[in-house]
């Protein structure tokens, strides 16, 4: 009995991990909607404003990829601590993509709500 419960729990965790990964791109674009931020700021915003526990080892390469795709631009700004920080901001393509993804998200989540209504 215990083993089956453990397996079910594991399968549920995997689904959740994949779900979080799929949302991460949209979450990052959304975190930059209101202005430029640097990596650690984005991480803190994601952790505080949402329940997304993000692995830093995934966020930085993802920021790099989004920049390579032209959705983000970056600039280096000197900080009080002496070391420069890399700030990211949405490009116009990034803003369009963010709005597009947000629309898809809203649609998706309302469809799921209908489906899940009997479960609650």
């Amino acid at each position: 009995m215990k083993e089956r419960e453990a397996r079910e729990l594991e399968a549920g965790d995997k689904w959740e991990v994949q779900l979080r990964k799929g949302c991460l791109e949209l979450a990052i674009l959304a975190a930059l909607w209101e202005g430029k931020r640097y990596g650690l700021e984005i991480l803190r915003r994601l952790e505080s404003d949402s329940d997304l526990i993000v692995s830093e080892g995934t966020v930085y390469p993802l920021l790099s990829r989004l920049k390579a795709l032209g959705l983000l631009r970056s600039e280096w700004v000197e900080s009080e601590g002496g070391h420069p920080r890399k700030y990211y901001a949405l490009t116009s393509a990034g803003k369009r993509r963010a709005a597009e993804m947000a629309g898809i998200w809203a649609q998706f989540s309302s469809s799921m709500s209908k489906l899940l209504a009997p479960l609650s």
């Binding site: 994949q18 650690l40 692995s55 830093e56 930085y60 790099s64 390579a68 601590g81 920080r85 890399k86």
Partner: protein, 210 residues
């Protein structure tokens, strides 16, 4: 803020391992990645030692643990960025580099790489012969020779050396326009197909894997 000597050493050791694994990206990009992560580690360590104003190795260790192993981090960077760049760029060199990376990760990638190398190779051969025709009008081109047992051998010749007896220039001056069109067309087609495959692979990465 000051950084304890030991802590600085740990940071540099970590970043050194990361840098060693970041191959395939150009120097400027590697430098940016390393600088960004150094900045992150320092900020994160400083935040955890607020009262002291000094970054200790304990703070650094925590920050490094949260980042994961430098090998895994480098792997994430390589896959994401190289593949994204292949989609955006149209340069065959860029595409081949991304395909090499993909080929090292999967069998499908290997075959796409093989096909692309062949496509580019023949495209270049066509163009080379078209150019050679202008320098060696009588010996370069697409030639047919009788070979030994009554068979005919067809080959591209760049025109160095003399033509063996009995050979026939199949295209004559048409080699020039045909070579450019076929060669250029083959290079563009190979690029188009390679980028299409890379796009499919990136999409498959985004889907949940069982």
């Amino acid at each position: 803020m000051t950084v304890a000597g030991d802590a600085q050493q740990r940071i540099e050791a970590y970043l050194g391992r990361l840098r060693g694994r970041l191959r395939g990206a150009n120097e400027a990009e590697v430098r940016e990645i390393v600088e960004e992560l150094r900045s992150h580690i320092l900020d994160k360590a400083a935040a955890s030692e607020e009262a002291h104003g000094e970054i200790t190795s304990a703070g650094v260790d925590a920050a490094l643990a949260a980042l994961g192993s430098p090998e895994e981090l480098a792997s994430e960077y390589m896959t994401d960025t190289l593949l994204a760049r292949a989609e955006v760029s149209r340069s065959p060199v860029q595409i081949l580099r991304s395909l090499f990376r993909w080929a090292s990760l999967s069998v499908a990638g290997f075959f796409v790489l093989l096909g692309s190398v062949l496509g580019y190779f023949f495209g270049v051969v066509f163009i080379l012969v078209a150019v050679a025709k202008l320098f060696h009008p009588h010996t370069a081109g697409l030639w047919a020779f009788p070979s030994g047992a009554g068979d005919t051998e067809i080959s591209f010749r760049l025109g160095f050396g003399s033509v063996p007896t009995g050979g026939r220039d199949l295209l004559g001056w048409w080699m020039v326009p045909i070579g450019w069109v076929a060669g250029g067309g083959l290079v563009m087609l190979t690029t188009y197909i390679a980028v299409w495959f890379v796009r499919q692979y990136r999409r498959s990465l985004a889907l949940p894997r069982n």
